[in-house]
Every structure is written in structure tokens, then in C-alpha cells.
């Protein structure tokens, strides 16, 4: 069941991308990595993505802009999007929700927290 789901992990930090990728693959998901919003958009068209996990602060294109661009395409209006935030970014989180984010995870997080949120959102 999970093997049919493909998740894109977008973060400019190699170590965070590595953590996300490792955890999700262990749980049976397929993972596509992107280093920033621009890279994500470029790859998005070529892959059949069912969920997006994105950081908010990235060069070239930040997470909120990425969410807006994804939601513009009607084919992606109902795709779940999880944003990675820190506890001091309440206003950013509100912006993300307004742009169409489904849920969020506060860094630092443990693998089981990540999987718990993914499970709830990626029905």
C-alpha cells in the first residue's frame, strides 16, 4: 500500500534531506529529493508525486512560494503538503496554511513524529 505513494522532500540542507529520505523509505514510501523550491518545481512535473514535505527557508524559491505554485495547478489542489517549521516561526506557519499547506512538523522532530503526521495526512 505505502509503496504506491511517492513523497517529495524539499530542503536545502543535505542532512535534513537525508534524514527525511531515510525515515520515509524505511516506512515503505518512495522519496524524491529536491534542494530548493525551484529544483522541486522542475522535478515535480516529471514525477508522479502524492505528497510534498518542504522546508520554508530555502534559496532561489522558498517553501511558501513553492506551495503557492504547486496549488496553482488544478491537478494539485488536493495534494497534501507538510511544511517543516521551527517553534519561532508562527507567522510563517500561518502564511503556509494560507498558501495551502495541510499540516506542519516542528523541527527538531523524531522519526515517529514525522511518520505520524504523514500517516494522518496521506490517507
Amino acid at each position: 500500500m505505502n509503496k504506491t505513494k511517492k513523497i517529495m522532500a524539499v530542503d536545502d540542507s543535505p542532512s535534513i534531506r537525508q534524514m527525511l529520505s531515510f525515515t520515509l523509505k524505511q516506512a515503505g514510501y518512495e522519496v524524491v529529493e529536491a534542494v530548493d523550491g525551484k529544483d522541486a518545481l522542475a522535478k515535480f512535473a516529471a514525477e508522479n508525486i502524492q505528497m510534498l514535505i518542504t522546508d520554508l527557508n530555502m534559496p532561489n524559491m522558498d517553501g511558501i512560494t513553492l506551495i503557492r505554485e504547486i496549488r496553482k495547478n488544478s491537478a494539485n489542489r488536493f495534494m497534501p503538503i507538510i511544511m517543516l517549521t521551527t517553534e519561532s516561526q508562527e507567522t510563517k506557519r500561518q502564511e503556509g496554511k494560507a498558501a495551502g499547506a495541510s499540516a506542519w512538523i516542528v523541527k527538531p522532530f523524531k522519526p515517529e513524529q514525522l511518520l505520524g503526521v504523514v500517516r494522518m495526512v496521506l490517507a
Binding site: P59, P108, V121
Partner: protein
């Protein structure tokens, strides 16, 4: 795997730190370049987030406030001054040292670290920390609390889908948290021509039974709660309150949920038809709402009945006769075990002795367990006495209350039943004779209400019951005068309080100034003593000066098995109840001769009469040169019983004598010894009575001896 993450972070961090240095130097030349500021912020942000993820908590903590400062810089609230940039460069160096030290490098200087952190903190405005919204967490593996049942109504925003949220995922998550019943409420879905398929019209009623607390349940909805209507009610708290197996009626549930106005419910109930049918027929409540309410009713009723069954399994009613039979079998087992132990000891077979020892241990454990089954809290008896005290007070024109303690103390059921009358007598005695009338108490400066205290406690293999009052106490003068009048005490005789007070337990002894209908002609206390002693207990009375009267009863825990003292007379074995035995002394021939033919012995200055059991039981033959006197406490005096030999203590299982022997005096039962022979259990009080009847002058002899002792 964590090591790989740390390796990756180290490489990443060193790259970012190098780039950060370049960005800071560039910012020093172009302080208002937004792109450069963004680059600095992002570097700090990534180091903090990735560091925390990879376990570099010191790096993450150190970077936190610096990142906050640069968040303000990029929003224009703080200028990027040369001093700030210098400080940030120093911080960058510190971070690098921290990262490298984790892989064996030199540790970062704590003083420098603290100085830098303090400097950055000073730049931040003093704002209250925002309330942290935590991400929803999977259920923790902590201790499971009691199961609670929640009623949840989740009415999401209609635009829910636009954020990519599927409500089924949230409901599925609830289902993972415990036992879940879900009903979809579809009453607000519009007709097809008005339906927007991109909107969410449905809402859900959930009945969830779980060990998680309400905050954990709410966290499932953390991503949607600001746009949704969410109510979570506790409808069953796991039996913390006293409850029967019933639950609210259908109508009550619907009103409580807001699905039905209370007035409508009342109007319908007057029609006495099935409520659900009427509600449907008149379209007052939607069918799915009724279904959901019925599910709630069904679930809670099931839970409560389940708990009742669980509680009922916790105790089983057993008829007393079954327990009595079991106790009897235990007695038989004790006997056989004693024979086994004796046989093993004589066989000099080490293995057999070991087995016998094991059987003995198991037998005593089993005995204790079985006797414990018959134990009941004495409190069941205590409760009746409050009424008794109240009625007595009323009748006597006194003001008395009863205070009880130790109601949970457990006694054998038979003992509790036989204790009732003695306790009634003692309490009567306290209220009638002990507590003064209110005016007398007032004259003495006492509270007008007197108190009777009734308490029970365990002490070893004994139960101690105490009946105490705060009345006038025993009247020493009146008791002494009464004793002299009845010839129990010479007029000038000296006697201790303990011995004096014992006299009130003699038949016919009463010092009440007038005979009242409540306590009769002083017959109560001798009956009390007799019943207690029949249960192999003792009763004493004391009266500390100015502290009222205290009756103390001591009883064995059980009546079926007693500690006995095994003795021999000729070839026969007899058992004394050990509770009555005070000591054993030798009786030499010349001592007997020196008593001028009287059966008296001088025990440390006290003259003790004794009874020769050889004579009473007509045992023939020549007694040993040195016999033994078993000194026992009976009524208010000490008496000796002469036997040939004292064998020792013996756990004695009491067997009734057969019907043919019911008329025999002096014996209260029998027991079977380890060698299979029978030992008779002595009824000491009857033996004394028989002796007294046989010697008309026994009491006279006692009185003469007392007088002689006084003169000497």
C-alpha cells in the same frame, strides 16, 4: 545510522560556515543588501535545524538566538552594524569549534560561548514566549491510564479539501487510538444541482474508548481545529464514579448533543410511543443522528455491564458449611502431617525427613490460607452498636456517643457471631455504670457528652478488642466493700487493683446502687467472661485514675486449631489450652507433705491451690517422685493442675467428642496425636467446678489460707 547523519551534518555545516563567513564579510561592505541578509539568515537557520536533527544540541541551542536576531535584521527592525557582524563572525568561529570538537577536536570555550549568547540575547526585544503549537504525536508508550469514553463531533471547514486534507485520515487515526464507532452525518449535503464536489459537507460523530487523555485526542485535529468545529466530551470516565449498568435515555442524549430541543422532547414523551420512531416520522431528528445516539447508548451500557461482571468475578459467595468442611479437612491434614513428621523422625531416613518437612510447611501454609477465608471485618458488628448506645442513652437520661476504630480488623466469622453478646454487655455496662449523668459530668467540669470507644486490632495471632469509656471509672471503695460483704476479702486485706477489679466478673457481683432494668442484677459480666473463655480468650478490666474504665478482650484468631500444652498422666495424654497456662513448676513430695494434707503450694509467696488430675481421672499406679504443676489463670484466681509429665507445646486440631460422650464433664474435645493416639482436651473451668463440688470446704479453705497469710 545516526553516525552517518552526523557525518553528513559535519560536512554540510563546515561548508555552510565557510559560506557564512563570506556572506558576513560581504554584508560588512553592503549592510542593506537584502539578498545577502537572506543568505546569512538561511545559513543560520539550516545549521540550527539540521544540527538539532542530527543530535548537535549545543550547536542548535547556540544558534537559536542568533537566527532570531537575523530574522529581525531581514525584516528591517535591526540594522546590520559592524559590531553585529563582528559578533556574528565570532559566533561562527564558536560554532565551527563545537562541530569539530564532536569529532575529537578541542572543546569550545564556555565563557566565550556564554558571552556571545548573552550579547545576541540583549539585541532581542523582551517579548513573552509564544505558546508552542506542537505537532501531533503518535500515542506515547507510557503507562496506560484508565479507559475513558469520549463523544467527538468533528465538523470540518467546507474548504478542507483545498488544503489537501482528507478527513478520513484523521478518522482513521482516531480508530488507531482505541475502540471507535463512527457515524457520518449527512443532513447538510445539498441537492445534487447545488452540490460543489470540491467542498466538504459531511461531518462526523465518533464514540471513542481509549486510555489516552483528551489533549492527545485533540492533537489528532491540530492541523484543522482553527477552521473546524470540534467538540470532545467525556461520557464515561472508566468507573471512577459509582455507576450502575444503565446509561442515559435516547432523548437525553439527543438533547445533550444539541440535536433536539428539550421542549420538543418533553412534548413527545407525553405521547408514550417509541421515541426514535416519532422523531423520524416528524423529521425532528435526522436518522443518522438517532443512529449515532443509539450507538453511544449501546457502547456505554456495554462498558458498564462489562465492568460489573469484572467486579462480580472479583468475589465469589461460598456457603459457610463448605468452608466448615474445608476447615475440617485441613484439620485432618494437620493430623496426618504430624504423624508423617513423627514417622520420618523415627525412620532415620534423610530423604523421608526432608519430604516430611516440606509437607509440614505446605500444610501450615494451606491451613493459614483456609482459615483466612473465614475471616470477616468486625466492622459489620460495630455498626449495630451505635444504635444500641443511642437507645441506651435515651432510656437512662444520659448523653453518650460511640466512637469505633479498627472496623476493618478481620476475625473468624464464628468468633464475630459469638462476640456480639459480650460486646453488648460491655457497652451496656459502660453506658449504665460508667458514664455519669450530664449534671454530674458538668459538676466535675467534664463535657456533657460521654464517649464509649470500641476498637479492634491484631497482635500476632491474637485479636485485641477494647471497650472503653470516659466516665467515672471503677469505684474501688464500693468494690472492696462488696467483696468483704460477700466474704471474698478479709476486711483488712491488701489487694492489688488488678486483683480487685477481677472480682466484678464473679457471678452475682454488682455494685450498682440501684438495680436497673437495663443491666439486670449484675449478671452481665460473668456471662461475658464465660463466653470469652469458651472461645479461649481472656477479658480484663482496668480503671486508670480519672480515665474511666477499660475492658480488654484478647481472642485467638481461630477456634478450630489451638496452641496446646501436651501433658501425660499415667499412660494417657491430655491437652491444656495454652492461652490459660501461666507456668509449670515442680511438685516435690516433701512440699506436698508440708501442706498439712491440703492441696496447697507456696509459689513465690502466693498460696496456690492445686488439683490432682490423677485423682479426678482415677488414674491408678504410682506417680513419679517429681510431678509437675501446670498453673493456669481461671476466673479471678490461679489454680494448679498436677500432672505426671509436661511434654510440650502442640498444635491441636479440635475434634468434637462423639455423641456418647456429650455428658462427660471436664473435657471440651479431643485431638489425634502424631502417633495416632487420642489426647483429650481439658475443660479447666469444669474441672475446677467439679473439684469445688467434691470438696465442700474448698472456698473455706481458701479463705482460711488468705487469713493466715495476712497474719503472718
Amino acid at each position: 545510522m545516526i553516525d552517518t547523519f552526523r557525518e553528513t551534518f559535519r560536512e554540510e555545516a563546515l561548508e555552510i560556515l565557510a559560506e557564512l563567513e563570506n556572506s558576513l564579510l560581504q554584508l560588512d561592505e553592503q549592510p542593506e543588501d537584502a539578498e545577502v541578509i537572506d543568505r546569512v539568515f538561511r545559513a543560520l537557520h539550516t545549521i540550527k535545524g539540521a544540527g538539532a536533527m542530527a543530535g548537535f544540541d549545543d550547536v542548535a541551542d547556540f544558534t537559536h538566538d542568533i537566527e532570531s536576531v537575523y530574522d529581525l535584521v531581514r525584516s528591517g527592525q535591526i540594522p546590520a552594524t559592524s559590531d553585529l557582524i563582528s559578533l556574528t563572525l565570532a559566533a561562527r568561529d564558536q560554532i565551527k569549534t563545537m562541530v569539530i570538537s564532536s569529532f575529537g577536536g578541542e572543546a569550545a570555550e564556555p565563557v566565550e560561548t556564554a558571552r556571545i549568547m548573552e550579547a545576541f540575547r540583549a539585541l532581542l526585544p523582551r517579548v513573552a514566549a509564544p505558546t508552542l503549537e506542537k505537532a501531533a504525536l503518535p500515542p506515547s508508550a507510557g503507562a496506560r491510564g484508565p479507559e475513558v469514553t469520549y463523544r467527538i463531533r468533528f465538523r470540518p471547514s467546507r474548504e478542507l479539501f483545498h488544503r489537501g486534507i482528507n478527513p478520513l485520515g484523521l478518522l482513521r487515526e482516531l480508530d488507531r487510538r482505541g475502540h471507535c464507532r463512527i457515524v457520518a452525518q449527512t443532513d447538510v449535503i445539498p441537492p445534487l444541482e447545488e452540490l460543489d464536489p470540491e467542498l466538504c459537507y459531511t461531518y462526523w460523530d465518533v464514540i471513542l474508548t481509549t486510555t489516552e487523555d483528551i489533549e492527545d485526542i485533540r492533537d489528532v485535529f491540530i492541523f484543522v481545529e482553527s477552521e473546524s468545529e470540534l467538540t470532545i466530551d467525556v461520557i464515561d470516565d472508566g468507573g471512577l464514579l459509582d455507576q450502575d449498568g444503565d446509561y442515559k435515555r435516547l432523548g437525553e442524549i439527543l438533547v445533550e448533543r444539541g440535536d433536539l430541543p428539550a421542549e420538543d422532547l418533553q412534548r413527545i414523551l407525553d405521547e408514550k410511543e417509541r421515541l426514535g420512531d416519532i422523531l423520524l416520522e416528524r423529521r425532528l431528528v435526522d436518522g443518522f443522528k438517532i443512529e449515532s445516539a443509539l450507538i453511544e447508548q449501546e457502547e456505554i451500557k456495554g462498558l458498564r455491564l462489562g465492568r460489573q461482571n469484572l467486579e462480580s468475578v472479583a468475589s465469589v459467595r461460598v456457603r459457610s458449611e463448605k468452608l466448615d468442611n474445608l476447615v475440617n479437612l485441613i484439620g485432618e491434614l494437620v493430623t496426618v502431617q504430624a504423624r508423617l513428621t513423627q514417622t520420618a523422625a523415627g525412620s532415620r531416613n534423610a530423604e523421608l525427613e526432608a519430604i516430611a518437612e516440606e509437607v509440614e510447611r505446605l500444610t501450615w501454609d494451606l491451613r493459614d490460607q483456609v482459615l483466612n477465608i473465614r475471616m470477616l471485618p468486625i466492622g459489620s458488628t460495630f455498626s449495630k452498636f451505635k444504635r444500641l448506645v443511642r437507645d441506651l442513652s435515651s432510656e437512662l437520661g444520659k448523653n453518650v456517643s460511640l466512637v469505633t476504630e479498627g472496623a476493618e480488623t478481620e476475625l473468624d466469622k464464628t468468633v464475630i457471631e459469638r462476640l456480639h453478646d459480650p460486646l453488648v454487655h460491655l457497652i451496656r455496662n459502660c453506658v449504665d455504670h460508667g458514664i455519669e449523668k450530664p449534671q454530674e459530668r458538668a459538676a466535675k467540669g467534664k463535657a456533657s457528652q460521654g464517649k464509649v470507644y470500641l476498637s479492634a486490632s491484631h497482635s500476632g495471632a491474637t485479636v485485641i478488642l477494647e471497650v472503653r469509656d470516659n466516665g467515672a471509672g471503677l469505684n474501688r471503695g464500693a468494690i472492696r466493700a462488696r467483696a468483704v460483704k460477700r466474704g471474698l476479702l478479709p476486711p483488712e486485706g491488701e489487694i492489688s487493683d488488678r486483683e480487685l477489679f477481677k472480682l466484678i466478673f464473679l457471678p452475682g457481683f454488682s455494685t450498682a446502687e440501684k438495680i436497673s432494668t437495663v443491666s439486670g442484677r449484675g449478671v452481665g459480666l460473668d456471662v461475658v467472661r464465660r463466653v470469652i473463655e469458651e472461645m479461649r480468650g481472656t477479658v480484663e478490666v482496668s480503671s486508670p485514675d480519672g480515665e474511666g474504665t477499660v475492658f480488654t478482650i484478647k481472642l485467638p484468631l481461630t477456634l478450630a486449631i489451638i496452641d496446646g500444652l501436651l501433658v501425660k498422666i499415667g499412660a494417657e495424654s491430655y491437652v491444656f489450652p495454652l492461652s490459660a497456662v501461666e507456668e509449670c513448676i515442680e511438685l516435690k513430695g516433701e512440699d506436698a507433705a508440708r501442706s498439712h494434707g491440703r492441696n496447697l503450694v507456696n509459689l513465690r509467696g502466693e498460696i496456690i491451690p492445686y488439683i490432682r488430675l490423677r485423682d479426678q481421672f482415677s488414674v491408678h499406679g504410682v506417680p513419679p517422685e517429681i510431678e509437675q504443676i501446670v498453673v493456669v489463670q481461671l476466673a479471678s484466681q490461679r489454680v494448679g493442675f498436677v500432672v505426671d509429665q509436661v511434654v510440650g507445646e502442640h498444635q491441636t486440631v479440635i475434634k468434637s467428642l462423639g455423641r456418647m460422650y456429650q455428658g462427660v464433664s471436664g473435657l471440651s474435645g479431643a485431638t489425634i496425636l502424631g502417633n495416632g493416639s487420642v489426647a483429650l482436651i481439658l475443660d479447666l473451668r469444669q474441672l475446677l467446678q467439679m473439684q469445688e463440688e467434691a470438696e465442700d470446704l474448698f472456698s473455706e479453705g481458701l479463705q482460711q489460707s488468705l487469713r493466715q497469710m495476712t497474719r503472718s
